[in-house]
Amino acid sequence: MLIEEIKKYVINTDLSSTQKKSLNYFLENGFPTTKDEDWKYTSLKKVLKRKYCLKSSDFELNDEMIQQYSLGFKHKLIFKNGKIFSEPKISGVSIKQTSDLCMPKNSTLCYLNEAICKNTYEIKFDKNLNLDNPIEILHFINNNNDYFLQLRTKITCGSGSNVKLVERFCNIGKNTLINSCMHADVKRNSFFEISKLQSYNDNTHTIDNTLIDQDRDSTANVHTFSFDGSFIRNNLNFYQNNENCTSNMNGITIIDKSNFVDHHTFVDHKFQNCLSNESYKGVYFDNTKGVFNGKIMVRPDAQKINAFQSNNNLLFSDSASIKTKPQLEIYADDVKCSHGCTIGQIDKKSLFYMRSRGFSEKTAKGLLTFAFLIEVIEKLNTKEIVDYAKTEIAKKLSIEKDLL
C-alpha cells in the first residue's frame, strides 16, 4: 500500500539519475521483511499497514514550543517536518541544502530515502574547529494526515575538529513513520559525538540509519537513549577506514507499554590498531519487545584490534521478550575481541538487603536498576544529557529523580 503511495508520489517529482536508480533498486527489493537476516525479529508489517502520505503540510512553530522541548543548549538547529526552520550562526559551521547527494546505504530503506527525500542537508565543520557547546538538533513534526517522513543529513567533520551533536524529536501530529539517514564523515584526528534522545510519543515509528566513516586517528561516539516510541529501529554502522580509529557506542533502553526497540550495530574494522567499545543496557516492562544485534567484523590483516561488546538486559515482565545476537566475524589473529550478553533480573539478595534497611520495594528496585545502568551514564560527559537521562529513567522507574 505504501509502495503504491510512493509510486504515485514520484510521478509528480523530478528525480535525478542517481535517485531514479535508487528508486528502482528499492522498488525491486521492497521493504525489508522478516526473511532478511537483519530483520529476522523485526517486522515492519504493522508499521507499514497505515495509510501514510508523503507530502508535508505546514504548521506553526513558536518559541514556546521550542523552549519546551529543548534541553537548553546554546546552539539550536531546528527542523520543521524535515525542513530547516532556524539554524545557529557559528563560524566554521556551514549548513546548506542540497538536492542530490549520494550516501552509503545499509538497507533498502536508505535507497528509498535517497530517492524521495526532498530536503537533504549538508553540515560541514571546518578544519580544527573546536565547538565549545554541542549543537542541539530539534525535529518538530506535525502533519494533517499520517505521515511518512524522510530525513537526510550528511555531516562532515574536518580534520582536527571537535564536534558534538544532540538529536531530539517532537511529533505533535498524527501517526508518523520517520525514515532517517545520517552519514558522518569523520576526518583525520577529529572527534565526533552524537547523542540520540529517543523519547517519541506513541504514534511515532522510527527507522534511524546512522553511518559513520572514520579516517585515521579519529574518534566517533554514539549514545542512544531509547525511552519512548511505539517502534524504534536503529541501524548504526561504523566503518574504520584507516588506522588508530576509536568507535564507542553506548545505549540505554527502558521501555514499557507495548513498545518495540531494535538496535542493530555494525563495526567494520578494516585497518590495524583500532578500538571499538560497545555497551548496551536494556530494561523491559509490560509487553515490550527488545532486539539487539551487534556485529563486529575484523577484516584480514587488520591486526591489533581490540573490540569489546556487551549487552545486558533486565526483563521485568513475563510478556516482555528480548532477542539478542552478539556476533563476531574475525579474520585476523592478533586481536582481542570479546562479547558478553546477559538476560536476567534484579538480584533477590540485593533487593532484600535494601528492603531490610527500609527502602520501599519500588525504590529499592529503582535504585538497583539505576545501578545497573550507571556504567553507561558514567560515560556521558555532557551535563544536560546526564540530566535528561536521569529524568527519564526516574520517570520510567517511578522513583524520585533526586535519589539518582
Binding site: K323, I330, V335, G340
Partner: protein
C-alpha cells in the same frame, strides 16, 4: 631474541599445515552397490534390500517427496561446491560371505583396517569393557557384548535389525525428535538412510558399559547416511560414543547423518563424538562434507549431554541440540572444533527451553589454523512457559595463523522474566607473554603451545569418557600435530 618464539611458532604451524592425513587409506573389500542417482526406485531398492516393512518404505518415500521440494540451505558460513545429489551412490554394502557369530570370523582385511585405525576390538572388549557395533560402509558387520546387554534388557543393534525385530519401538520414536521435514539433509537421510545404530535402555536400567560405534566411509563415491536412535526409558542411564575416521579421497564425500535421542523422565543420555573424517589435503582438495542433524528431547528431570571433538571434514555443518521439554530438564553441550588448512566448520547447538526450571550449559572451544574458518552458531531459546530457566554459554576461539577466521553467531531469545541467560565469547591468539612465560621456565615453544592448547580444551576433553579421551587426544594431535602434547 624476543622474536624467537614467534619464529618457532611459525615453523610449528608450517609443520602442522604440511602434515598429511595419517588415516587415509582404502580397504579393498568387495562391495555391492547400485547405480548412482536418487529416485523412488532406488529407495524401494534400499528398502527391499533391507527387507523392511511397508511403513518404513512409506516413511522413506514420504521423506523423499518432502526432500524433492526442499532447497539446500545456504545460510551457514561455509562455502563449498554443492554436491550433485544424482551423482552419489545411495547404497553400498560389504558382501557378507557368511553370518558372523563372533568377532574372530571378521574379514581379515577389514580387521586390519580397524587395527590400523588403532581400534583393537578384542582389546576393547577385554580391557575397556566397551561394546562395539562397527559400521563399515553403512552395514553393521560386527556386534559385540550383545548378550551381556540383552540380560539387562538393553537393545543395542543396527537400526535395520531393530526395524525387523522391534518394529513397534522404532515406529514409535523414529522421526519424532527430528521430523522428516526438519531440514534438507534430515529429509535426505530419512529417505535413503542405509543403516545406523539403535539403542534402547529399559526403565530404571543403568547401562553398565559405554556403547560405542565406529563409522567409516569406505567405497569411493558413496555417501554415508547413518541413522541413530537412542531411547532411554524412565530413570535409565546410557553413555554412547561415536567416532569416525575416513580414508583419503580426492572427490568430496557426503555424510548426512541423523541422530535422535529420547530421554524419558529422569533418564540421562551422554552422547560423545569424535569426528575425524578426511579433511582434504593442504590445498583444500577433497575432504568429507559433514552435514549432520542431531537432536535430543528431554522429558521431566531428564538430562542430555553432547560432547564433541570435531577435527575432520572439509565442511562441517552440525548443531547437536536439546529440546528441554520437561520440568527440571538439563541440556549440555561441550565442543572442541579444530579447523586447519582449508577446513570450514559451522557448528554449535540449539537449546530450546520449554519446561520450567530447565537448565543448559554450552561450552564451545574453537581452534582455527591455516586458512580455515570456524564458526560457532547457537540458539538459546527460552519460551514463555519455561519459568526460572537458566543458561550459561561460553564460546572461545583460539586463532593460530593470520589467514584463518573465527566467527560467532549466537542467537538468544528470552520470553519470560524469571529466566537467566549469560553468554560470553572471546577471540584471541596464544599470547606472546604466555609463550614467553613458559620459555622462561625451560619449556620449549612447541611444548608450550601444547600446554596452552591442552589447557584451553581441557574443560571439554574432561567431559569425554576415559576410553574416548585417548582417541580424542590422538585426533587433536593429527589436526594440530606438534601443537598438542
Amino acid at each position: 631474541m624476543k622474536i624467537e618464539p614467534k619464529i618457532s611458532e611459525d615453523i610449528l604451524l608450517d609443520e602442522v599445515t604440511s602434515k598429511e592425513y595419517k588415516y587415509g587409506f582404502t580397504t579393498n573389500i568387495e562391495s555391492e552397490k547400485i547405480e548412482k542417482g536418487l529416485n523412488e526406485d532406488v529407495i524401494k531398492f534400499i528398502s527391499k534390500k533391507k527387507n523392511e516393512p511397508d511403513w518404513m518404505l512409506d516413511f522413506r518415500l514420504e521423506a523423499f517427496k518432502v526432500w524433492k521440494e526442499m532447497e539446500e540451505p545456504d545460510w551457514a558460513n561455509i562455502n563449498y561446491p554443492k554436491p550433485d545429489y544424482q551423482d552419489i551412490v545411495y547404497y553400498c554394502a560389504p558382501k557378507q560371505k557368511k553370518k558372523l557369530n563372533s568377532l574372530d570370523d571378521l574379514d581379515p582385511e577389514m580387521k586390519r583396517t580397524f587395527d590400523r585405525l588403532g581400534i583393537s576390538i578384542d582389546e576393547q572388549k577385554r580391557l575397556a569393557n566397551v561394546a562395539v557395533d562397527i559400521v563399515m560402509d553403512s552395514v553393521s558387520v560386527a556386534t559385540s557384548f550383545k548378550e551381556k546387554l540383552a540380560e539387562l534388557g538393553i537393545i543395542f543393534c543396527p537400526i535395520s535389525e531393530a526395524i525387523q525385530k522391534y518394529p513397534e519401538l522404532v515406529k514409535k520414536y523414529i522421526g519424532t525428535v527430528i521430523p522428516v521435514r526438519d531440514n534438507f539433509f534430515s529429509a535426505l537421510n530419512s529417505a535413503v538412510f542405509s543403516d545406523g545404530s539403535f539403542c534402547y535402555i529399559p526403565k530404571g536400567t543403568e547401562c553398565p558399559m559405554e556403547l560405542s560405534t565406529y563409522f567409516r566411509i569406505n567405497e569411493a563415491g558413496t555417501g554415508q547416511f547413518e541413522r541413530t536412535l537412542v531411547i532411554a526409558e524412565e530413570g535409565s542411564y546410557v553413555s554412547y560414543l561415536e567416532g569416525c575416521t575416513a580414508p583419503m579421497r580426492d572427490e568430496n564425500q557426503l555424510h548426512a547423518a541423523v541422530v535422535e535421542l529420547v530421554a524419558q523422565d529422569s533418564a540421562e543420555i551422554k552422547y560423545s563424538t569424535v569426528q575425524n573424517w578426511y579433511p582434504g589435503d593442504k590445498n583444500g582438495k577433497g575432504g568429507v562434507f559433514n552435514f549432520v542433524t542431531k537432536r535430543g528431547i528431554c522429558h521431566d528431570n531428564a538430562k542430555i549431554s553432547w560432547t564433541q571433538v570435531e577435527t575432520g571434514s572439509a565442511v562441517t555443518w552440525k548443531y547437536p541440540s536439546c529440546v528441554l521439554k520437561g520440568k527440571n530438564s538439563i541440556g549440555e553441550f561441550f565442543s572442541v572444533a579444530v579447523t586447519n588448512n582449508f577446513q570450514q566448520a559451522d557448528t554449535g547447538t540449539k537449546m530450546v527451553h520449554l519446561g520450567e526450571n530447565s537448565k543448559s550449559t554450552i561450552i564451545a572451544k574453537g581452534i582455527c589454523a591455516g586458512k580455515s574458518n570456524g564458526s560457532y552458531r547457537g540458539l538459546v531459546k527460552i519460551a514463555k512457559g519455561a519459568k526460572n530457566s537458566r543458561n550459561f554459554s561460553q564460546c572461545d576461539s583460539l586463532l593460530m595463523g593470520d589467514k584463518c577466521g573465527s566467527h560467532t553467531f549466537p542467537y538468544i531469545e528470552v520470553d519470560n522474566k524469571s529466566s537467566k541467560v549469560e553468554h560470553e565469547a572471546t577471540t584471541s591468539k596464544i599470547g606472546e607473554d604466555q609463550l614467553f612465560y613458559c620459555n622462561q621456565r625451560g619449556i620449549g615453544t612447541e611444548e608450550a603451545v601444547a600446554l596452552i592448547v591442552n589447557g584451553y580444551c581441557k574443560e571439554v576433553l574432561n567431559k569425554l569418557p576415559m576410553e574416548f579421551a585417548v582417541e580424542a587426544k590422538k585426533l587433536l594431535e593429527i589436526s594440530l600435530e606438534g601443537s598438542v602434547g
